[in-house]
């Protein structure tokens, strides 16, 4: 536990411009704190998040990647998050299959009004990743024993 306290995970959060990014702004406006390990990348819609971005993040040393979008049915572009949901469901299931802990990936629907949810989600996610420790698996699949 004491080691995990020291460990500062790198967390990449992709947030859609219309709901989740605004939700994060609201969390800020309401001074609802969450770990500084979380760095947000603004995308127009959760459907803009390419699996390449997620794998790239892991490749470059991220310990966890979270994608936030509008709640299903509320997408600014009507259908974007439905596509994102299918893509991420399959991608995360694949990562799980490859032995990557599923706590390192997450999708959460956060509306512009859910500052509290944004903050609690990030707190939860970061502590789950802290629990796991640094991500060594995704960087070194090829290393020999």
């Amino acid at each position: 536990m004491s080691i995990n306290q020291e460990f500062k995970p790198k967390i990449v959060a992709f947030c859609c411009n219309w709901c989740s990014y605004a939700g994060a702004d609201l969390a800020g406006g309401s001074r609802l704190s969450y770990p500084a390990d979380v760095k947000i990348i603004r995308v127009p819609c959760s459907c803009r998040v390419n699996p390449m971005f997620i794998l790239r993040a892991f490749e470059r040393g991220a310990d966890g990647v979270i994608i936030c979008g509008c709640h299903p049915g509320d997408c600014h572009y009507s259908t974007g998050n439905y596509y994102a949901r299918r893509r991420m469901t399959l991608l995360f299931s694949m990562l799980d299959y490859l032995g990557i802990e599923k706590e390192r990936t997450r999708v959460e629907w956060v509306s512009a009004a859910e500052g509290v949810k944004f903050s609690t989600t990030m707190n939860e996610f970061v502590s789950a990743v802290r629990e796991l420790g640094p991500n060594r698996r995704l960087g070194d699949l090829r290393c020999k024993d």
């Binding site: 299918r86 469901t89 299959y97 997450r106």
Partner: protein
Amino acid sequence: MQRLIDRMKELLADGTVQRVLGWKQGDLGYNPEPHYFNSAEELDEFIYDGFCGANLSKYMIKGSELEGKTLVLLKPCDTYSFNQLIKEHRVDREKAYIIGVGCKGKLDIEKIKAQGIKGITAVKGAEISGDCDELTVETVYGEKKVAYKDAMLERCHVCKGKEHKIYDELLLDSVDTCDGDRFECVDELDSLTPEEKFNFFRKELSKCIRCNACRNVCPACSCRKCVFDSNKFDSAQKANVDPFEESMFHIIRAFHVAGRCTDCGECSRVCPQGIPLHLFNRKFIKDINEFYGEFIAGEDAETKGPLTDFTLDDIEPGERR
């Protein structure tokens, strides 16, 4: 097979087709390769036997650009890929004259070698006209007998069925070869601990030499230029600077063909390192079936793929069925 050759010559002679896309005898007797035959004479080198595993549908991308019609031979499983390519506007149905050829299961020379048989000079009994029960393997150390089934490709043991999904005419008989469940391997891996799964894939993917054989043979990997060869994602593979890149390549490749992969098994067949690449595709297929309902890519040329479609109440990422 003579019937097939006669029919092909007939279609060439009456001008229905300009050329034949089939298999040509290789240099070893068990390694035929895809080939365009431009005349009846060239067909002397034509072969269709148990070693003709290669899926010719992808070659019709080029065939579609050629003048006139091309006669293409498709095994039942190849027709799924062909349909998928029609759906993606990559082949022109009008440019193909499809003879659906029967299939009695395709052979894997590595499976014969794995039985300790060395110095193989020829394999008899793989003729499609035969009963395909037993193979006689001629080696420098004498003849060995191998049961046909024991030399079959993994994919034929989990065959989708011997029905051609698209064709102009059918020739030669098929034999049902399915005696397994194609998702068993996925279930087995899924039941392991993360550590065990990781170790398994690390071991397998460590073998990858990025020769791109899987990508080149895959009928779903039909991009004019692969993302891994372009600068669009800063992902061009110059040298193996980063050990992660192989795994990224295989995960992304599987993702790009998810919902489009017909499980033709060519990736695993051609991998010189023997990486069971179909395990990636099968996982996606199994998930798609479980999450979004049974979907068989290439069963027809119209249905929307599962990743370009959705329902309002799809399951959430990370949710278990």
